[in-house]
């Protein structure tokens, strides 16, 4: 048992990559057989999911921590650790990837490469959440760009090249500035403590203990980290890469992008910005929250007028992620819990929405809302699932979306920040109901106006397999949130303490 616990994080991180290598070897010796590639990819991603499940029970166990020297002279270590903040995000990732593999079963262009990139991407994403060494974190963060770039660029839609390049350049600019901040933090920490290390845990502790960063330094580093993360979130006005990337990416790519990649931004804010630079966080809180609120309303308004289903969902992401940022910067425990919960919700609901859009896109090869109408008649099961997911996205009580949005709004309202922010954000909830319900009405209900839609087949078994787990989770998370919240509470409390204590001390100083 000890052995398993010692290695489980490494396994969860690298099993997909190992699978990808095996697939390459298999195709080299046995010929490139698409069916075998699909099955192997599914097998390895499912195995990763199963391997990640025990983490729910063991997440607090210190024997899980992996720490080994990597580049000694620089103080870089191979340090993986799971805590309340990363636990659910890891599970979300490992859950979504097999579903994406299933949803991509129909792809027949370069299947082997597609699946290999998918698995490489999974390793990168899990690695980002588990890495507790800034160097390692940065490594996973960047390496993950490559498979995503290819997924969009090779298997994407019409304007895929433009979208892929835009995605990469946006992310690179942010992340390279983050690299500078990482180096600066590493040097400052080394100069003041004498220990040159990239260890996130150690640096966070030492910042709290010795307080060696000047206010000025905090501000610059906060800005550099925040820029990288806010591009990823994406926070208005840095969001323009997102609609392009979402629309052009293949269905699975959109699911991963919305479900996991965007969460890396908000995760980073919670992991780095709040606990490491608390005074700067307080200083920047209001501007960031204002941007978040603008994003909420703007995303909702733009979503409302989109003729394209995928674009609509993409802009709804901008709106939803605005909530997450709002909750994070409320600096209340409730707000942060809501933010974390909303990250998961968004991953599940938006992931499901993209899958649902993919289902009809596969049948009709169009995503224009005007092409559809009355789908509930030929596709009743589809319509039911679509409705549940929509309601979850709106935030209907007893479904997951409600819990997250409610906690965020309460957290923001009770925080020290102006209440008007929470009030405006609430209008975003209303707006989201408007555009989502209007969209479902136009797509699902009414008469079947288009001849092509009359004979559409309902969801197949494979599609059910991809959608049902998400629907189950939507309901489960709606009725039993404490299952998730109690496991993340400890870590969030600590972040809450770090961000507030120090800031108050700083004000006195």
């Amino acid at each position: 048992m000890h052995f398993i616990k010692q290695n489980i994080l490494t396994v969860v991180t690298f099993l997909p990559l190992f699978g990808a290598l095996l697939m390459l070897l298999h195709s080299y010796f046995r010929g490139n057989n698409p069916e075998a590639m699909r099955r192997m990819a599914l097998g390895f991603s499912l195995a990763t999911f199963l391997a990640s499940l025990p983490l729910i029970g063991w997440y607090a166990d210190p024997t899980l921590i992996v720490k080994a020297n990597w580049i000694g002279s620089l103080g870089v270590s191979y340090h993986l650790r799971v805590d309340g903040l990363s636990l659910w995000l890891v599970i979300l990732t490992t859950l979504l990837v097999p579903l994406c593999v299933l949803a991509s079963w129909h792809i027949d262009k370069h299947v082997r490469e597609y699946m290999v990139f998918m698995l490489m991407l999974e390793t990168g994403m899990v690695g980002v959440f588990l890495a507790m060494d800034m160097f390692l974190f940065y490594l996973f963060w960047e390496v993950m760009l490559v498979p995503m770039y290819f997924l969009i660029g090779v298997w994407g839609g019409e304007r895929r090249i433009y979208a892929a390049i835009k995605f990469v350049i946006y992310t690179m600019i942010g992340s390279l500035l983050m690299l500078v901040a990482i180096i600066a933090l590493y040097l400052l920490h080394g100069q003041s403590t004498g220990v040159y290390t990239f260890d996130i845990v150690q640096i966070t502790e030492n910042i709290a203990r010795y307080d060696f960063l000047t206010y000025q330094q905090q501000m610059w580093m906060f800005a550099a980290f925040a820029l990288a993360f806010m591009i990823k979130v994406p926070l208005f006005p840095l969001h323009t890469w997102l609609p392009d990337a979402h629309v052009e990416a293949p269905t699975a790519g959109s699911v991963i992008l919305a479900g996991v990649l965007l969460k890396m931004g908000t995760y980073g804010l919670m992991r780095f910005n709040l606990p490491m630079f608390p005074e700067a966080a307080h200083r920047f809180a209001i501007p960031i929250m204002i941007l978040a609120v603008i994003g909420i309303v703007y995303g909702a308004l733009v979503a409302m007028v989109q003729p394209d289903l995928k674009k609509l969902v993409a802009y709804s992401s901008v709106s939803h992620l605005g909530f997450v940022v709002l909750g994070t910067f409320a600096f209340t425990e409730t707000g942060m819990q809501g933010a974390l919960y909303q990250m998961l919700n968004h991953g599940i609901s938006t992931g499901a929405l993209f899958l649902l859009v993919g289902v009809i896109y596969e049948r009709r090869h169009t995503r224009l809302i005007s092409e559809f109408g009355g789908l509930s008649t030929p596709m009743p099961v589809y319509a039911t699932i679509f409705m549940i997911v929509t309601l979850s996205s709106i935030g209907l009580p007893l479904l997951n979306g409600f819990v997250g949005e409610f906690l965020i709004l309460v957290g923001t309202f009770t925080s020290a920040h102006p209440r008007i922010l929470a009030v405006i954000a609430t209008s975003g909830v209303v707006l989201s109901a408007v555009y989502m319900l209007w969209m479902t009405q136009r797509v699902l209900f009414g008469r079947v106006t288009n001849e092509h839609n009359k004979s559409l087949a309902d969801v197949t078994l494979r599609e059910k397999l991809t959608l049902v787990p998400l629907v189950v989770l939507i309901i489960f998370m709606g009725v039993y949130p404490s299952f998730f919240l109690k496991r993340s509470a400890g870590q969030l409390q600590q972040i809450h303490r770090l961000v507030n204590e120090r800031a108050v001390a700083g004000m006195v100083r």
Partner: protein, 504 residues
């Protein structure tokens, strides 16, 4: 005066110290002589070349431990200094030289060009580069530089009947010689100002502010003017902005394998001499301000180089030309390490850059096909899934040049940025970072063409020649090794014994 010379200089002839150079010179001459034979056997000459490089590598390796114990070996009246700095660069030159031979074999055969002269020119160039890295005297830097440059001029024009090759060689020759003249003038002025042409003498003169010959204070104007002239000369040689204009033309016109050699080994050699003179000799001196003057001006040059190189690369359609501009940009990154006074960072950066680039150019020699013609980026269309091995290799190498983690390129940039940030060159680091984000765009373009565009015409490609295959495999292995496990090399460099310890 004559007696003075004989008295002060002991003719310490030490062949052991220059074994690597001797071996390479002998094998270069041997290859040349084989080439005269009526019907020279290609394979034999390749063998001599490879064996020569391997033996030179062994000889270099055998010097590593003695240097570790005694610190440094000086030979020929301080003309040659063998320390870990020189040995490290010897390794770079030997590896690059060897790989250049490997990638040019099939090209020379296909073009029916004389093999012996080509190989021997490469070897002589490497000898010159070694002398530059091991120089202990200005005249050695000059001689080494000229041995290397003259060989490379001839190599650039190696396809005698090709107009582009001619043009490339002439341009390289004219601008290279002009740069040498500037460098030489700088050397003369520094000699006059400090009263010594030995690097150590110059260093002492600057630190103590005493002219070694006249025992009077160092002549400041001459010193600054000389340093500025040398700065110009070296900037030409490493192709830093605004002295970079020759680079794209020369790189595009020269045979691809020669371009590979120029972009990697020649650049590394120029940086080796640059480091020797500027970082080890022009140290923060006694009331001279020379150090801060050259770092400030070089910081500006580095920033301009990074910006201009990367921006110009964005608009290129020719692969070799794009890599030429990319090499200008990379010179800028290496200069950022140089202004930080950190020879380890620069040397490591040059190693990562050379290892990656030689592989990329190796693939270009193969992809360019007959007559070295198909070097437009569009010629790669649809290569991706058609020739997965080659295109993935290219992908990895380009990612390394772009500086994506897990590759050597990232590690090199990381080390340089860290060194420069530590010394307070914040602006330079931020410019470096932003320009490397921009650079991703042009490194991605070949990938876009390779993978995202559909194939237009079925290309008729020959099988990958063994030499190119070996080079690319070694280059990729090196890229990953330096990117993932550079720890041991860092350790070795940290413990390296260097003469003229930086005064800090």
């Amino acid at each position: 005066m004559m007696t003075l010379l004989l008295q002060t200089s002991v003719l310490d002839i030490n062949y052991v110290a220059i074994w690597p150079m001797i071996i390479l010179s002998i094998s270069g001459i041997a290859v040349l002589l084989f080439g005269i034979a009526k019907d020279p056997v290609h394979r034999d000459m390749s063998m001599i070349g490879i064996v020569g490089f391997v033996l030179a590598g062994v000889a270099t390796g055998r010097l590593w431990l003695p240097v570790k114990t005694v610190g440094q070996i000086r030979a020929f009246s301080n003309m040659v200094i063998i320390d870990h700095f020189s040995l490290y660069f010897f390794f770079i030159f030997i590896i690059i030289g060897l790989l250049t031979l490997l990638i040019s074999a099939s090209f020379l055969e296909a073009e029916r060009l004389p093999v012996g002269e080509f190989y021997s020119l490469v070897m002589f160039a490497v000898v010159g580069m070694m002398l530059m890295a091991a120089a202990g005297h200005l005249v050695m830097i000059f001689l080494g530089l000229e041995i290397a440059s003259i060989s490379t001029y001839a190599l650039a024009g190696y396809r005698r009947n090709d107009l582009r090759s001619n043009e490339s060689a002439i341009k390289y020759f004219v601008l290279g010689s002009a740069a040498t003249a500037f460098l030489l003038y700088g050397m003369a002025l520094i000699y006059g100002a400090t009263g010594s042409a030995e690097l150590e003498g110059i260093r002492t003169a600057i630190i103590d502010n005493v002219n070694a010959a006249t025992k009077q204070p160092v002549h400041t104007e001459l010193l600054f003017l000389g340093a500025a002239m040398m700065l110009v000369g070296f900037s030409f040689k490493v192709s830093a902005v605004p002295f970079h204009l020759w680079t794209p033309d020369v790189y595009e016109g020269a045979p691809s394998s020669v371009t590979a050699f120029m972009a990697t080994a020649s650049k590394a050699a120029a940086f080796a001499a640059f480091l020797r003179v500027f970082v080890f000799c022009f140290v923060p001196g006694y009331g001279q301000g020379l150090h801060s003057a050259w770092t400030t001006s070089l910081e500006t040059i580095a920033i301009l180089t990074m910006i201009a190189g990367n921006i110009a690369a964005l608009t290129q359609h020719n692969f070799k030309r794009m890599l030429a501009y990319s090499s200008i940009a990379h010179a800028g990154y290496a200069l950022v390490g140089l202004i930080a006074d950190d020879w380890q960072a620069v040397a490591f950066y040059l190693l990562t850059y050379s290892i990656t680039n030689i592989g990329a150019f190796g693939l270009i020699t193969y992809l360019a096909g007959r007559g070295d013609r198909e070097t437009e980026i569009d010629d790669l269309a649809g290569l991706g899934f058609n020739n997965l091995g080659v295109s993935i290799a290219m992908l990895i190498l380009l990612l390394s040049l772009a500086g994506i983690p897990l590759t050597a390129g990232f590690m090199g940039k990381f080390i340089v940025f860290k060194a420069a940030w530590q010394k307070g060159f914040h602006v330079a680091v931020i410019v470096a970072v932003v320009t490397s984000a921009v650079s991703v765009y042009y490194y991605l373009r070949p990938m876009v063409i390779m993978f995202f565009r559909e194939l237009k015409v079925e290309p008729k490609r020959l099988p990958l020649p063994t030499g190119v295959l070996v080079t690319v495999v070694l280059s990729i292995l090196g890229t990953f090794y330096l990117g993932v496990m550079p720890g041991r090399l860092f350790q070795a460099m940290e413990n390296a014994k260097v003469s003229f310890v930086q005064s800090r």
